[in-house]
Every structure is written in structure tokens, then in C-alpha cells.
């Protein structure tokens, strides 16, 4: 699997993702700046967490105008796998690659805590190493992670099994406890929790590794 980790000015989790996907999960990964205009040749594009362009207007609102965005859109439309984490999720919704929006947490405070999550759909390219209903614990670290979509959108998301991860104890007020979704085609996923922060026992857990291993299994055929 060859993965690109996008790096927007103000992203601060690109290096963390590179470390998780590369040295830890064992895939080939490299940082690609937001000025890149071509993403061909990659199997997976990761959109990292952080505060792109400071996120002063609204999370992800400025990043959607970055030079790389047309290439990202083309990559997704061609069926390439895209995973947006935290700010990456916000960017994908702002860019219209995923439905809904992320607004301020219910209590208006930034939250950094490990959160138990239920894997709702274990058939996606991102979650096939988990089992349906499995509870995994991943850290969250966000101020604007409160997922919102109108009722029609939510109903459609559920009908098409696009809700992949739900919070067990909804920490931020997200509609229907949603922590992560895919697009209808299933090749673009966004999630607020940080799987790249849960890939080493030394740092408190390895529940996030399954996401990267799932993608490697899909991209490389078999993953030992």
C-alpha cells in the first residue's frame, strides 16, 4: 500500500500519521504538501488532524480551497481510499466529500479523552479487521467534533450503513452518537477519533492499528 499523508499549513498530526502508517503498520507512506496537484499513484490519501490555516473561520473552511483539493476530489471520484481524521474529517465535510458538518462541542470545550466506540459497520475498507459491534477505545482531541446533519441525511446515512463508528458515551453532542462515517461509495471515510494515537502499547493501546491494517489488506490483497 502506498499512502499519501496530506499536509496543510497548520496541520499538526501529519507526522503522527506518517509514523503510524509507515514504521508501525508497515506500509509505504509519505507526506504530500497541500500545494501538490496530483495524487495518482497512491492507494490511500490520509487527511490529518490539526488546525489547517489556523481554523479561525470554521474548521476546514479554508483548507477546502487549498491547491491539492481538486486532485483529492478526482482521486476520491476515481475510487481511491481517503481517510480524514479529526481536522481531516472537518475538511472532507467542508469540501463536500462527506455529508454533514462538524460544529462546536456541546459544552464548548475542547476534549482530550480516550473514548469507547462501537464499530457499527465492519465491512468497510477501513474497518474490516474489526468485528461488528466490537468496542474499541480511541483518543479524541477536538473542540469542533459535534457531528450535525439534517434528519433526511442521517436517515440516509443509516440506511446505507455509512455510519461506521458511534460513541458509546457521546462526549460532544454528535447527532445519533456519530463518530465516523463513509460516503455512499464507501471509499471516503471521516472520523473524529484519532486511530493514529492508538497504535503502540507503550502509548496506551493498539485499538487503532486495525484501521490501517484493514486498508493494507484491501490495497495489498492479503495482509499477514
Amino acid at each position: 500500500m502506498k499512502a499519501a499523508v496530506l499536509n496543510f499549513p497548520g496541520s499538526n498530526c501529519a507526522e503522527d500519521l506518517l509514523w503510524a502508517v509507515g514504521p508501525i503498520a508497515g506500509a509505504h507512506a509519505e507526506i504530500v504538501p497541500a500545494t501538490a496537484t496530483d495524487l495518482t499513484g497512491y492507494d490511500l490519501v490520509l487527511v490529518p488532524g490539526g488546525f489547517s490555516y489556523g481554523d479561525y473561520l470554521r474548521s476546514g473552511a479554508i483548507a477546502k480551497f487549498a491547491p491539492v483539493m481538486p486532485a483529492l476530489r478526482a482521486f476520491a471520484e476515481a475510487g481511491g481510499y481517503v481517510l480524514g481524521i479529526c481536522n481531516g474529517f472537518q475538511i472532507l465535510t467542508e469540501a463536500g466529500l462527506l455529508p454533514g458538518a462538524l460544529q462546536w462541542n456541546r459544552d464548548l470545550t475542547f476534549i482530550c479523552e480516550p473514548e469507547p466506540l462501537v464499530v457499527e459497520n465492519a465491512t468497510t475498507a477501513f474497518t474490516r479487521r474489526y468485528t461488528a459491534g466490537q468496542v474499541i477505545t480511541l483518543p479524541i482531541a477536538h473542540g469542533e467534533g459535534n457531528y450535525y446533519a439534517d434528519d433526511a441525511t442521517l436517515t440516509a446515512l443509516e440506511a446505507h450503513h455509512q455510519v461506521v463508528l458511534r460513541y458509546q458515551h457521546n462526549p460532544n453532542g454528535s447527532c445519533r452518537d456519530i463518530a465516523g462515517i463513509t460516503n455512499e461509495a464507501g471509499n471516503v471515510m471521516g472520523m473524529m477519533p484519532h486511530p493514529e494515537r492508538a497504535v503502540e502499547a507503550l502509548l496506551g493501546g493498539t485499538d487503532g492499528l486495525g484501521m490501517f491494517e484493514s486498508l493494507m489488506e484491501v490495497c495489498d490483497g492479503a495482509y499477514a
Binding site: W104, L108, A149
Partner: protein, 83 residues
């Protein structure tokens, strides 16, 4: 040259945490006469160009950048200003 005054608001169906927190705080402080709180954003942009062009540009800016139309609505006015 035109000055655009732009208001961005949550759609009524969206529960706004900022408004909720303000309302809760007011209640806690005993100010129970406040029936509703709405929190929005306000932008003022000064743009060069003729009215039609500026109007089109501002509308696009609002829908693509200043507001997230999934959860927000916007409205704006234009007024001519001296250079």
C-alpha cells in the same frame, strides 16, 4: 466600491451550543426574562467593482467560504462607499 455586510446564522433546526451555553448562564445568573438567544457571525468586506459583479462575488463567497450551508444560512446587504 461596495461594502458588504454579511450575517451568518445557524439554521433553526441546528442546536447551537454557543447560544445554549449563553442561555444557561443567564438562567444561572437569574436573568430568566431572556426568551431566546441567537449567536451569529458578522462580516464586513469592502470590494472594488460594479454592483452586479460584487453582488455575484459576495454570494459565492458566502455560500462557499463564509457560511457552511449544511448548517448555516446567510444574508447580506451591499452599500456603495467612497474609495
Amino acid at each position: 466600491m461596495y461594502k458588504a455586510k454579511i450575517f451568518v446564522n445557524y439554521k433553526p433546526s441546528v442546536l447551537d451550543p454557543k447560544a445554549t451555553v449563553i442561555q444557561q448562564t443567564l438562567t444561572r445568573l437569574g436573568q430568566t426574562n431572556v426568551d431566546s438567544v441567537m449567536v451569529g457571525k458578522y462580516f464586513e468586506l469592502v470590494l472594488q467593482g460594479n454592483e452586479a459583479a460584487v453582488n455575484e462575488q459576495v454570494a459565492k463567497l458566502c455560500s462557499e467560504m463564509l457560511a457552511n450551508v449544511n448548517m448555516e444560512t446567510y444574508r447580506y446587504t451591499l452599500e456603495e462607499v467612497e474609495a
